[in-house]
Symmetry: C2
C-alpha cells in the first residue's frame, strides 16, 4: 500500500497527460493514497488530476490533503465545485480547513454552505482552539430509549453512510441529554421488538466540549474506546470524538513538549511551513533569555579572576565540569517532564522522585568524579600539563564533578515540579534552561572546592 505514488506507470500516465486512464487506475486506490500522490505532483498537474477523479473519491481525497493543498485546489475550482466539496466534507475535516484560512475567506466559504452545514461549521468554529469542541464531529448515531430494535435499525440505515463510528450508539432523552451508550452488537443480538431501555446500564463516559484536547487523549488512553461522546455543560450530546483524531492530538502534544524541551517556543505548523521570520523569533526569544542567564557565568568567573591568573590549569576544566552538570540535569528533567505529561505521577510525587534522584545523583557523581580524577592522573604520567600538584588538581576536579552532577540531577528533577506548582508548563524546564542554572552554580562550586583543596599550593 505504501509507496504506490512512486510507481513509474503513474508518472508515465501523468507525463502523457492520459488522465482518463489514470482515473481508471486511481478508482481502485484508497483516498489516502490518492491524496499522497496529489501532494507529490506539481501544482498544475494536481488540479487536473483532481478534476478527473469521480465525485466520491474526489471528496474523500480532498479531506485527506493538507490544508494548504486544499486551499490551492479551492482556488483552482469554480464556485459551484467549491460549494459541493465543502457541503459534503466531514464536519471535523471542514473545521480543520476553515481554521487555517484567513477570516474573510472563511466568511466567504461559509456563505457557500447550505444553511444546515453552515450551522454545523459555525458551532464547531465557535469553540476555543485546542478544546475538544474543535475536534468533534456531529456524525454519530443517537437513539431514544423507548425505541424498538427495529426502529433503531431503520434509523441506522438512514444515518449509516455519514456516521464515523457504528460500534457505539448514543441514547438521548427528549431534551437531547445523553443518558447512556450502547454497543451495536447489543442491538444485533436483541429481539427486533425489544426496547433500547432494556439494553441500558446507565453508565457511560463523556467528555466536556470545553475541555482541553490533552484531556481527551488521557481519557481515550484510560477507557480504550473507539469513540467518546462530547456533551455541553447541561449534558446535551453535541458530538463525538474518535480515537484516530485523538492520535493526531497526542502527536501534536508530544511535538509541543519536545520543542519546548529543546529550549524554544513550540511551533504551530510543521517545520518546513513556518515562515523564516516567525521561526527566528520563536527561537531567538529563549536563546536571548538563556544567554542573559548565562552571563552570570562571566560574573561568577570574574570573581575568581585572580585564582585563574595564578592557576590557569583550573580554567581548562571549566567546560568539562559545567557540561557534566548540564548533561545530568538534562537526563533528570527529561524523565520527570515526560512522567508528569503522561500522568505517571502528579505534583505530590516530588518527594518520591527526590529520594530516587539523590541516590542516582550520588552514584552518577561518584562514577564521573572517579573518571575525572583518573583522566588527570593518566595524563600526568606522561606529561607535565597539570604540574607537580596534579593529585590536588585531580581531587579538586573529581570532587567538583561529583558535586555538579548531583546538583544537575536535583535541579533537573525538581524544576519541573516547581514550574508545575507555579502554574507554568513543566516542559518549559528545558535541557538548556536546566543547564544554564547548573552552569552558574557549578562554577561557584568548582572554584570554592579548588580554593579549599589548593590553598597553600597552587593558590
Amino acid at each position: 500500500m505504501i509507496g504506490k505514488a512512486l510507481q513509474p506507470e503513474i508518472t508515465a500516465l501523468i507525463e502523457a497527460r492520459d488522465f482518463a486512464t489514470l482515473r481508471d487506475v486511481l478508482v481502485d486506490w484508497e483516498p489516502e493514497d490518492v491524496a499522497e500522490l496529489l501532494s507529490e505532483l506539481a501544482d498544475h498537474d494536481r488540479a487536473f488530476v483532481f478534476r478527473f477523479l469521480p465525485h466520491r473519491l474526489a471528496l474523500e481525497t480532498f479531506e485527506n490533503l493538507e490544508p494548504d493543498r486544499q486551499q490551492e485546489l479551492l482556488k483552482a475550482m469554480g464556485r459551484e465545485e467549491v460549494a459541493a466539496i465543502l457541503n459534503e466534507m466531514a464536519p471535523d475535516d471542514r473545521t480543520a480547513l476553515l481554521e487555517e484560512l484567513p477570516g474573510p475567506v472563511v466568511k466567504e466559504l461559509l456563505m457557500r454552505l447550505t444553511p444546515e452545514e453552515r450551522a454545523v461549521a459555525q458551532t464547531l468554529l465557535g469553540y476555543p482552539e485546542n478544546t475538544i469542541g474543535r475536534k468533534m464531529t456531529p456524525d454519530y448515531v443517537a437513539v431514544r430509549k423507548e425505541w424498538s430494535m427495529r426502529e433503531v435499525l431503520d434509523h441506522i440505515r438512514t444515518r449509516a453512510e455519514s456516521a464515523e463510528t457504528l460500534t457505539y450508539l448514543y441514547v438521548v432523552d427528549d431534551r437531547g441529554i445523553l443518558v447512556d451508550d450502547i454497543r451495536i452488537n447489543q442491538v444485533l443480538v436483541a429481539p427486533l421488538e425489544g426496547r433500547v431501555a432494556a439494553l441500558m446500564n446507565e453508565t457511560f463516559v463523556s467528555l466536556p466540549v470545553t475541555a482541553d484536547q490533552e484531556t481527551a487523549a488521557a481519557e481515550f488512553k484510560k477507557y480504550n474506546r473507539e469513540a467518546l461522546p462530547v456533551v455541553d455543560s447541561a449534558g446535551h450530546l453535541v458530538g463525538i470524538v474518535t480515537a484516530d483524531d485523538v492520535l493526531d492530538i497526542a502527536e501534536e502534544e508530544a511535538t509541543e513538549d519536545i520543542q519546548k524541551f529543546g529550549g524554544m517556543q513550540a511551533l504551530e505548523d510543521p517545520y518546513l511551513e513556518v515562515p523564516l521570520g516567525s521561526m527566528i523569533r520563536k527561537r531567538a526569544g529563549w536563546l536571548v533569555v538563556l544567554m542573559i542567564g548565562e552571563m552570570l557565568t562571566a560574573s561568577a568567573m570574574g570573581a575568581y579572576e585572580h585564582e585563574i591568573a595564578r592557576a590557569v590549569v583550573l580554567a581548562l576544566f571549566v567546560p568539562l565540569i559545567i557540561s557534566s552538570g548540564g548533561n545530568s540535569g538534562s537526563q533528570a528533567a527529561t524523565l520527570v517532564i515526560r512522567a508528569l505529561a503522561v500522568g505517571e505521577f502528579s505534583l505530590g510525587g516530588w518527594w518520591k522522585v527526590l529520594r530516587r534522584e539523590i541516590l542516582t545523583g550520588l552514584a552518577l557523581g561518584g562514577i564521573l568524579g572517579v573518571i575525572g580524577f583518573a583522566r588527570i592522573g593518566a595524563w600526568s604520567l606522561f606529561s607535565d600539563d597539570y604540574g607537580a600538584h596534579w593529585p590536588l588538581v585531580g581531587i579538586a576536579v573529581g570532587l567538583s564533578l561529583a558535586g555538579v552532577v548531583l546538583l544537575g540531577t536535583l535541579a533537573g528533577s525538581m524544576l519541573p515540579f516547581v514550574l508545575k506548582r507555579l502554574g507554568a508548563d513543566p516542559a518549559a524546564s528545558s535541557a538548556p534552561f536546566v543547564a544554564t542554572i547548573v552552569d552558574v552554580m557549578g562554577l561557584l562550586l568548582y572554584f570554592s572546592i579548588a580554593a579549599l583543596v589548593l590553598r597553600g599550593t597552587l593558590l
Copy 2:
C-alpha cells in the same frame, strides 16, 4: 468520571470493610474507574474488594490493571479463579500480562488455559517484541464473499460479544486470505438476500504482522481508521489492531524519543518502577560517553594555555560562548528529530533544512553577537573589568558568539540526518550530544578569533 476513586464514601466503606455495599456502588462504575480505585488501595484491601466484584466486572477490571497489580491478584487467587480469569481476558490484554511474567510462570499459566485459548496466546507471544503481532487481537468478525446479508448478520450475532470493533467486517476467501474490508453500515442498508460480493470494492489497507509497531501508528494516522487488519506473509488474516492500542504505542514511542533526546538510553518501564541499579546504568552510559567527548575541551583549552595566562579575561567568556552554541544546537536538533519522527520529511529533506538553518543560524548568531558585544561595552562604562582593550575583547566575543551559534544550528540540524543515514536512530543526537560536539568546535573557534583580533594588544 474523573477522581471518583477519591470520594470519601468509598474510603469509608472500605474502612468499615462493608464490601457488600461497596459492590453495589461499584457495579454502576466503568471497569476503568474500578481499576483506578483498586490501584490506589493497600494490597490486602485490593484482593478483598476484587473478590467481591461480580464476575463480568471483575474480568473487565482485571484487564484494566497494570501488569504487576494483575500478578499480585493472581497470587492471591485460587487455581480455578485464575484459570477462569485468564480464559476470558481479551487476547491482547492477556499477551500484555504474560509478557511481563518470568518464563516458568508463563508456562504454568498457559497450562491453565483451554486448548483454544492457549493456541491464541501462543500465537500472539510467538511474534517478536515491538512487532504488530504482539498488539493484535483475533477478536474480529470475518465473513465470506458468497454469504448473504442474513448469514452475515447471523454470524455477527454469534461473534458480537467478543469482537473489538464492528464498524469493519473482513472478507476472507476459503484459504483465510484477506480479500476486502466492508463497513457494517453497508451490511445494514443492503437487502437481506444480497451477497457480500456485491458490497466489495477489493481495495483495503492491511498491516504485516511482523512490521514494527511504529509503522502501525503511522498507518493509522494516514488512514484514520478505528481498526486495521493484520496479515501474515501469505496474506492470511491473523488479527486486527485497534486505534486505542495504537494510541498507547504512539505514546510509548514519543516517550522513548524524548528520553533519548534527553541524553540517555530509553527506559522500558515507568520512571518510578525502574529498579535504581538499572536506572543508574541507563544514565551512566551516556554521561560517561559525553564526558569522555567533553574531555577534548580540556585538551583544546590546554592548547591555548599561554594565551589564557596572558589574557585571563578570555577565560571568563568560555561558558557563555560554548553554552550559546549548545543551546542553538539543541533547538535545531529538536526540530529536525521530531520532524523526522512524524514523517514531515525524510533523508532527502536535508538540503531544504540546511538552507533554512543557514539563514536562521546567521540571524540568531547576529542577534546574540550584538548582545554579547553590548554586554561587554556596558560593563566597561562602569568598571575596568575588561581593561583598556575592551572594544577588541567585545569584538572577539561577539564574533565568536555569532560563529558558534551558526555552528550549533548547523551541527544540530544535520547530525540527525547523518545518524539516520548511518542506520542509527536520529533521536540519539540528543541535546547533550550536540552540545558536546559544539563545545569543542566552539572553543577552537573562540580562541582562533581571539588570537586574530587581539594580536599585538592583549596577546
